[in-house]
Every structure is written in structure tokens, then in C-alpha cells.
Symmetry: C2
Subunit: 394 residues, 2 copies
Amino acid sequence: MTNPVMLQHGKTKSAIRELFEYGLRQAAIVGKENVYDYSLGNPSVPAPAEIADTIRELMSMEPLALHGYTPASGAKEAREAVAADLRRRTGDDIGPENLFFTCGAAPALISVMRALAVEGAEILLLAPYFSEYPVFASTNGLKPVVVPADTSDFQLHADQVEPYITPSTQAVIVNSPNNPSGVVYNRKALEELGALLTRKSAEIGHPIYIIADEPYRELTYDGEDAPYIPAIYPNTVICYSYSKSLSMPGERIGYVCVPNCAADSAELYAAVAGAARSLGHVCAPSLMQRVISLSTKLRPDIASYDRNRMRLYMELSDMGYRCVKPRGAFYMLVEAPDGDSEGFSEKAKELNLLLVPADGFGCPGFVRLSTCVSYDMILRSLPAFRKLMASYQK
Amino acid sequence: MTNPVMLQHGKTKSAIRELFEYGLRQAAIVGKENVYDYSLGNPSVPAPAEIADTIRELMSMEPLALHGYTPASGAKEAREAVAADLRRRTGDDIGPENLFFTCGAAPALISVMRALAVEGAEILLLAPYFSEYPVFASTNGLKPVVVPADTSDFQLHADQVEPYITPSTQAVIVNSPNNPSGVVYNRKALEELGALLTRKSAEIGHPIYIIADEPYRELTYDGEDAPYIPAIYPNTVICYSYSKSLSMPGERIGYVCVPNCAADSAELYAAVAGAARSLGHVCAPSLMQRVISLSTKLRPDIASYDRNRMRLYMELSDMGYRCVKPRGAFYMLVEAPDGDSEGFSEKAKELNLLLVPADGFGCPGFVRLSTCVSYDMILRSLPAFRKLMASYQK
């Protein structure tokens, strides 16, 4: 007598985790150095040394205050520190009252989803999308509607989004830099999306929000920054996590930011707080809130991710693979030479190359490589990639 | 266009938090030492010194491992350490595969609720109950059904539960030591409940689970331990938090334990995992998982809670208040002399005594005092309690 949907979500492991666990078993047989695991998005650059220093210093604080409850939205000093940083970086009038700390980006997203989950509500997922979005939406009162990927450039094209908007559309998730493509949506694309949503919101009589899922915001290359979306389209809510930017994905700390420019900002913020409460949110981990409040100036060391990205992109392209050039995050999509991503992933597996079929990301025909790996592993894996391509050229 | 239920849960502050915030404002006017705040259940005994030592030592660990993702269920070493401790204490065959770490007891409870939320499902709340239960249940697919409190002794009486069981009853939440009453359900009461649920489960053709919500498990006085419920009634799932026992409520670490003896144990565990995923659970905070795995032998220092409890109970009883003697946790119920708890709380407020009306705990006519306060505040507050009683005796 368990809920069949929950049971199914508990039993079906993600393709990513299946491959990762296969890799661990295979490593025990052929040796760790002979398994080339591109499955997980676990940062390979350690947290900045300042984090450990800050935690050490905080240990002299009074433990009742350090480990005690904070307000549900977060300690005021943490919200103030992050708001000040956001003001500096964006010029927007973000204050502590716009921020709601959460246990990472996933509950942040779900809180916003639940806040918008009115009867019949739909949410647009722009393929390729993070593979958990459909689970999050469908189990929290929203119908996920997929806008297929434009595999010519993996950019966002407003004209391709338009046909999927209905009177029930409550939000569009914009994940840029994108997981799994590494693409950063450019300003023009976002402006066109903003214009479309403004027009459509007026047409259907209620705002369509952009939910900007931005855990990779600081991970961009080639000097290409991810634009601040509320400045382009005001009805935007930001979901953020420190998992990737500070390399502490296990610590579960992130936030929702509802800027003042968003329609019904205060009401939406209250609904997000109520939704978080309904998810069992009490506060974000208190020690980590303090760490964040003292670390807003830290930026990730992206040099090694950049080196990985370029090396893999160039080597694989030279071998004849069609790769989507990443401009951000730490993933790369590679097309299956014969269009069959499952088969491609299986063949790769025989060579101990672990590549995740991107079908679960709404992108069949491609596999996802996490490039947050050791550079050395990349070099060691190149012969296997060559062999793999040769097997398609026979 | 926000969800009206989420908006309402975001806008309505709990009576507890309202009072607490009033106290902060009042303290600014009359001085902190003249406000007697019995509102919040925030531990007043600091975390054991060993916690800070452990965190300091962990700072020499490799940060990628320390702050990285763990499996959704928790790091194996943490689950193994806690399982070993539970085996030692209960004699039950708990293994790491029975444990699922969560961000505290609230999401643990909600994960179990969602796992059991089949069409039309009902969950029994035994009054007095923790005031968030109705919100958690009703927003996660279960209809909360309240079994009224027996205010003669605040114990659990199976015969009073029986009339509320229907074919849709999926679970009963048993919170002992109890918030807000401080009562510890005795073995006989639990055995009678177990016998009732065994009989009723057979009658309706599916198991009725006990959800044992046990954040106060280690906080018992007078040598009265809280019995291990799965040994009394096998279809029991435990939700636990380290918030109160290790005085780190802000750190959000707890677990669900589905023991092997529970009906469909493996399936229920999988459904809990799926439900957690649907709530945005990725893993419990990784640093704190390690802290817990090294701290399973620590027990709370309950001496000061015990002293507070006895002093308040004796003093207030002597003044003529009817108090429910707490045997565990750190709360005490006091009856409104004229039966009007809201009026009682209001009159108390005029004397800067902050007492939460227990109506939200399913116990009208009483107020809740959190006894996790400073002993000194208790002493300072006694004249106000005397004045308050005098105002009823005019």
C-alpha cells in the first residue's frame, strides 16, 4: 500500500547513477585507472581553502548560536551578505527580504514550482534539460511540457517555444549555463524569450515566470558571462546553489531569489515560503549559512574545468565526433555517430568509457560527458575514444 | 496566480513564531531580562564540546570527499555507524540498508507520508500533536484525522483511537516523548495500540503503520525510557533528528529507519527514497553526516532540562496552576485557569510572559511552555506567574 509513483521514483535509478555504480564495480575488476568515468557532475576542483579556514574560525563561536535554528528564510546576516553581493554584481535592488535560503537548488526549484502549482498548471522544460525536472514538476502539481532541443546550435529560440505556451503555462525553466549541453544562452535569445513571454502573459491574462536555475552561473569560459535575466525579463525567479561554484554539493545550501521586479513579488515570496514549509523545510544548514555569509567574494577556480573542456572538445572533434562546444558548466554533449545514443553508450562501456545517454535530458541521439574529471583521466581515455570511433568506421 | 494553499501557509506564521517575534520587539522596549520567553523549542544546552572538536579534525580531510555528494540515503560509513548504535541499543537487526538520512525530522516525516499517500489515505494524529503535522499531511496527499487528547492523563489510549480507524487509515503518528505535553507513552499503552493496529490491519486488509517521530528519544527523566516501538509493533517506521539530542537544530540532520520487521520493508524503503527525491532531497548535509558517524556515542546533557522542568512544575503547581508533569522532551502544558487558552496567553503577554496557546497542537484550553530556557529566566519569571494567577482569583 505504498504510493506507486513514489515507489517507481525510488526504484528507478537514474541512468547517471547506474553507470557510475557500474564503473565502481568495473574498477574493482580492471583497475581504477582503466575506467574512464564521465558520468557524474561531482566537482573535481576542491572547495577553496578559505572555506576550511572559515569553518575552523567559526568553531570558536558559541555553539547554541552556531548550530541553532535560523529563521526559515535564513539568518539575516547571511541574507544580507548575499543580497549585497548580488546588488554589486547585478545593479538590481536585491535585499535580504528577496532571498530565501534552501537546502540546495533542488528544493529551491520545487518550492517555486509548488508556489505556482495552480489547477492544471503547466511548466515548460527547454530541451536539453536537467533530467530531474520532469520528476520534480510531475510530483509537485505541475504538468511538464517539453520544448524539443534545437540540435543545430542548442540555443534558446523563442519562436520554437511559442507553440508550447497555453493559458495554463505558469513558468519556463531557463537553465543557463546548461546541464547537459554546456551552452550559455545569449542575451539576444533571452531578450526574444522575454518579449514572447511579455506578449503571451498579456494574452493569457497572468504572468508567465522564468525560473532561472543557475547553479553554474559562475562557471563560464571564453569571457562569456551568463546575463542577469531579471534585467531582461522582470518576472524571473532565481534558484541558486553553492554546490558547483564552491564545490560543496554535499552541503546542501542554495537559495531562491524573488526580485522586486517580479510580478506580485511579495506574494510569490510568501507562497515560496509556504511551499518550502510543506516540503519540510525548517532552515538551510546553519553552519553553512554562516560560511556562505563570509564567502560571498569567493569565485570558483575554473581553469582546470576550462582545460578539460578544451582538450576533450578538440581531441574528440579531431577524431570525427560531433561535439557541442561548451561555453559554461562542466558537461559536453557528443552525438552518437549512428544516432543511437543507447547503443553508443553500450559500446563505450565495453571500452570502460562511461558516457550517459542524453535521452533522459530530452536529447536522444546524444551522450553527456561530465568534464569535471581529472585531466589525467582524459588523457588516458583518448585511445578508448579512438577505438570507439573506429568501430563506427568499419 | 500562486497556489492559494501555499500562499496561506507562507503568510500564516505559527503562533509560536508570532509570540517569539513579539518577545524580541518587547525586549527592545522593556529590556531583555524582563521578557520571559517560553515560546520556542530551541535547545538551551549547547552541543557537546566533542562536536566542535570533531568538526575541527574533519577540516584536515580532503575537501572533495568531505563536501561532495553522498548517496541519497547517506554515506555508507554514517549509516553503518548509526545502524551499529541502534543495534546495540535495541537488539534489532538494523543495517545501513534500513537507514535513509534526511535534512532533519520534518522531511523524514514527509517522505514517509508521501510514500504512504495512496488515493484517499488518512493519517491519525494523536492530540496533543506537533503543530506542523496537519500542514505536512494535508499538503502531501494525506487527510489528517485527529484523535482528541485525553486531558486526564495525556497518555495514549487504544480504545480512544479505535473509532477513528477506517479502511483508508495508512498510519498513526506516535510522538513520544511528546511535543507539546512532555508525556512519554508507556509500554502498556503502546502494546494496546499495537494489538489494536494488528487487529485493524487484518480487518481492513493492509498494514497500518506507526510513524514513530522521535526527536526527543534521549530526553527522558526519572529513569523512564521511551520504549523501542518496532519491538512492540513491527509495522513501525522511525523518524529521527539530531536537532534536540545533540543541540544542533539548525544543521538539519536526521533519518528515516525502516526496520526489517515492518511489512513490505524493502518496498516501503524504496518508496521513502522516491518520495524524498520528489521533495528535492539529494543528500543530507555531508559534513554533518560525518560528524554524526563519529558521534553516535554522545548523549545529551539533560541535567539542566530536568532542573528546569522540576522547578517550573513545582512552582507553578504550588501557585495553583494545573500542570501536566513532563517525563521527557522540554515542554510543559499548563491549563488556562478559566479554560480560555487564547485569553490566558494574552493576559500572560501583558506581564511579558510568552506562553503559546496549545490550540494549534490540538489541545485547546492549555498553553505550552518550552522549558529549554535559562534557569535564571525561570526564577525571574515566577513573580509574573504569581501575578497572572492572582488575576484569575480576584
